[in-house]
């Protein structure tokens, strides 16, 4: 098979070969989507490591009952910063970074629709993130949890500036997110290669476009809440002060109106990444592409209508609760459809278990477990028992760590060669994988049991003598060391392979989408020409006869 490389600059093997990327100045002033994408992802990974260390402190503090490893005041700041960092400074930048990097390549464009807006969004994100970390030195980090419920966050109860820093930081970061979301949508709508209709863009991109619509409609809820808490704290307004007629529940509605779509914003890129990885390493087209796409749209709409399920224990009336229980169960259907389709893609395939595929496989089971506990929470009385316990902590770590992060890591092993020109080490990768699986499941599976045994979340410590609490916490904490070590092993792989990895070439995986039709890494202008696009798999089409329907089973060509 001849190399299908649609650029004149065929001698590029590593980032070093691209002289436009030499020197710090070229990066700081860049409006090239690839450089901005790399900066987003790199920054996100650094915050991942920082937040993982914060988590380790949490687990050490909880290792034994009545521990005093850190003070209660430090602990409350640490768990708040852990959550806030993972959601806003790890999840969002990595998913936005991967998209701005991949989108123009996947659609055969030279750059995003708004390159300067792209750069602006990255730098305002970085500024916002640094502003929040400055708070540790600036009077105290926020300490009210990543969702900061008033009245606790009113000045009367938390007079340190932590919450103020938190609100300001998230407003800034939010501006960047909305700007990039707009960029992603307009790029997809206007810059696609000839022949690439919207239903032929890679599923990763389809999901990221829906994701971007979610960002546009969900962030305003957060912005409204942040503005109000800032006004309460700085201008003495009364939005959330019950003594003046304000409403603590108003915050919860506004925040979760954002917060629920936010978790779908976070997971969609994971779904997108594995929807690219699994077919390639099974050498088989994704099963039910139309249903994968349609289910994403359904989830997008439904996710805006389930937010009260975070408020089931607040004493709202049964009818309201039931409506949201219904929508929350409904959203499980399109989500489940995706799992069946991934399994069907693997069925009958010829599976290469590269590290990328290993992480994608673990993702399918772990995400399913997280999804099932999520459905349990949709059943209101079960939520009444288990909300705000370690059962919730287990649930969201299964979907966000065992789910999203595993999927992103899969994507990293898949796309790292394209970004840097070198392969990640498969040897280190296999160690990374197994340590992650053992570390993750060991740390978090037992937390389900802790929740069932009554342990609440966000507690600095717990009493001696609670049956099972000490043993399970100890087990979880020991495994958390393995998990955190696996992240540092991953970081080592990323750095080591950057200098010593095998040269990848344009298409090391024999993959099918347009990003593989140029050098690794791509030249600044990405492509000089483009292949014909007649399906979702342009490169597969170039090396195969026109697709025929499989005998005996009705199917739909891509």
């Amino acid at each position: 098979m001849t190399e299908l490389v649609f650029t004149k600059q065929k001698n590029i093997n590593t980032l070093n070969d691209i002289h436009e990327y030499h020197g710090l100045w070229s990066w700081v002033t860049s409006v090239d989507h690839k450089q901005i994408g790399i900066m987003y992802i790199g920054t996100g990974l650094i915050f991942l490591l920082i937040a993982a260390l914060l988590a380790l402190v949490i687990r050490i503090q909880l290792m034994v009952p009545m521990n005093h490893f850190v003070s209660q005041s430090a602990y409350n700041q640490i768990f708040t910063m852990h959550g806030t960092t993972m959601v806003f400074f790890m999840g969002m930048p990595i998913l936005l970074g991967m998209t701005v990097y991949l989108e123009p390549l996947m659609i055969g464009a030279r750059d995003m629709a708004f390159p300067r807006l792209n750069a602006f969004a990255y730098w305002i994100f970085l500024f916002g993130a640094l502003l929040l970390y400055f708070s540790f030195m600036g009077g105290g980090a926020p300490s009210a949890g990543w969702f900061a419920y008033p009245p606790l966050t009113e000045k009367a109860f938390l007079f340190d500036p932590g919450t103020t820093y938190w609100a300001l930081s998230l407003l800034l970061v939010g501006v960047g997110s909305v700007a990039t979301a707009i960029n992603i949508i307009v790029t997809a709508f206007t810059l696609r290669a000839p022949g690439m209709s919207m239903n032929r863009i890679p599923l990763f991109l389809w999901m990221m476009v829906i994701d971007s619509f979610l960002i546009i409609f969900a962030l305003p809820g957060l912005n409204a809440a942040l503005v109000m808490i800032l006004f309460d704290r700085l201008l003495h307004t009364h939005f959330f002060a019950p003594n003046f007629g304000g409403s603590a529940l108003l915050w919860q509605h506004l925040f979760w109106f954002f917060g629920h779509p936010e978790v779908y914003i976070l997971i969609m890129p994971g779904w997108g990444a594995v929807s690219e990885v699994i077919p390639v390493f099974c050498r088989k087209v994704i099963y039910g592409a139309g249903f994968m796409a349609a289910s994403t749209v359904a989830i997008g709409f439904l996710s805006m209508g389930v937010w009260v399920h975070h408020m089931f224990a607040t004493g709202l009336d049964n009818t309201t609760l039931y409506v949201f229980a219904f929508t929350s169960m409904l959203i499980a259907i399109p989500t489940g459809v995706k799992v069946w389709n991934w399994l069907a893609t693997m069925w009958g395939g010829s599976i290469r278990f590269t590290t990328a595929m290993l992480f994608a496989t673990a993702f399918v089971l772990q995400f399913t477990i997280g999804g099932l506990t999520g459905v349990a929470f949709a059943a209101v009385p079960i939520d009444w028992q288990l909300t705000d316990t370690y059962f919730v902590v287990a649930h969201f770590h299964y979907v966000l760590l065992g789910g999203l992060v595993f999927a992103l890591i899969s994507g990293f092993y898949y796309w790292y060669p394209k970004v840097t020109g070198r392969m990640l080490s498969e040897t280190i990768g296999k160690w990374h994988f197994w340590l992650s699986v053992v570390g993750f499941n060991g740390t978090f599976f037992v937390l389900h049991i802790l929740g069932l045994l009554g342990m609440p979340r966000r507690v600095w410590t717990y009493p001696r003598g609670m049956h099972g609490w000490a043993e399970l916490n100890m087990f979880s904490s020991i495994c958390s060391f393995i998990l955190v070590f696996s992240f540092f092993l991953f970081a080592y792989n990323l750095v080591y392979s950057f200098f010593k990895g095998k040269i990848a070439g344009p298409n090391p995986w024999s993959a099918w989408t347009l990003e593989w039709a140029t050098t690794s890494p791509p030249p600044p202008e990405n492509f000089d020409s483009l292949p014909a696009v007649n399906s979702r798999r342009p490169l597969w089409d170039l090396t195969h006869e026109p697709d025929e329907r499989v005998a005996g089973i009705g199917g739909q060509p891509a």
Binding site: L117, F217, F257
Partner: protein, 181 residues
């Protein structure tokens, strides 16, 4: 539709959702209680200033037409009128705010002040930003090259201005007219 216009429409969608959140919060607090401070609001006076804002949408539309016809002189004229009308609106808001504050109705006094000043204040902020955008359009018109302002820029800012106007229709109805219903 141009890239710029698509981008602006998406941005407007986001801002519209933000205002929806603020309006719903306003309604949430006002549907049960009627504040005495509300009687200090004067729908007629504010209505007059509102007419200036609504008229500025019309003059903006005239400006867009002049742009389409490549008539720079008229374009400058209509932009200038739009800016003046918008400024009259802001001035009216400022007078109203000063009046309320003189009567000790401030943002921190009670929930009326809190919600009123937040909702109308954010709208006013968006109007001021719009005025700055219009001024930059006028500047490009007057001192810029032949291709400036671009069609993308012109239509984007026009859409933003109309959006700000439409938001005021809602806010005015909810804040000033609702209690008469």
């Amino acid at each position: 539709m141009s890239k710029a216009l698509q981008g602006m429409l998406l941005f407007i969608a986001s801002e519209a959702t933000f205002f929806l959140m603020l309006v719903m919060s306003y309604v949430n607090f006002h549907k049960v209680i009627h504040f005495s401070a509300e009687s200090y609001l004067d729908p007629l006076k504010t209505g007059m200033f509102s007419i200036a804002l609504f008229a500025s949408s019309f003059t903006m539309w005239c400006a867009e037409n002049s742009f389409k016809k490549q008539n720079r002189g008229w374009l400058r004229f209509w932009l200038a009128i739009t800016i003046i009308l918008g400024t009259i609106f802001i001035a009216g808001q400022g007078i109203e705010y000063a009046d309320l504050i003189e009567h000790h109705i401030t943002i921190s006094r009670d929930l009326f002040g809190t919600t009123f000043f937040t909702l109308t204040g954010f709208h006013g902020l968006h109007v001021i930003i719009g005025l700055l955008l219009l001024l930059s359009l006028l500047g490009l018109c007057t001192f810029g090259r032949k291709i400036e302002p671009t069609s993308g820029g012109m239509h984007c800012i026009a859409y933003y201005w109309h959006f700000v106007d439409v938001v005021w229709v809602f806010i005015f109805s909810v804040v000033y007219l609702w209690r008469y219903v």
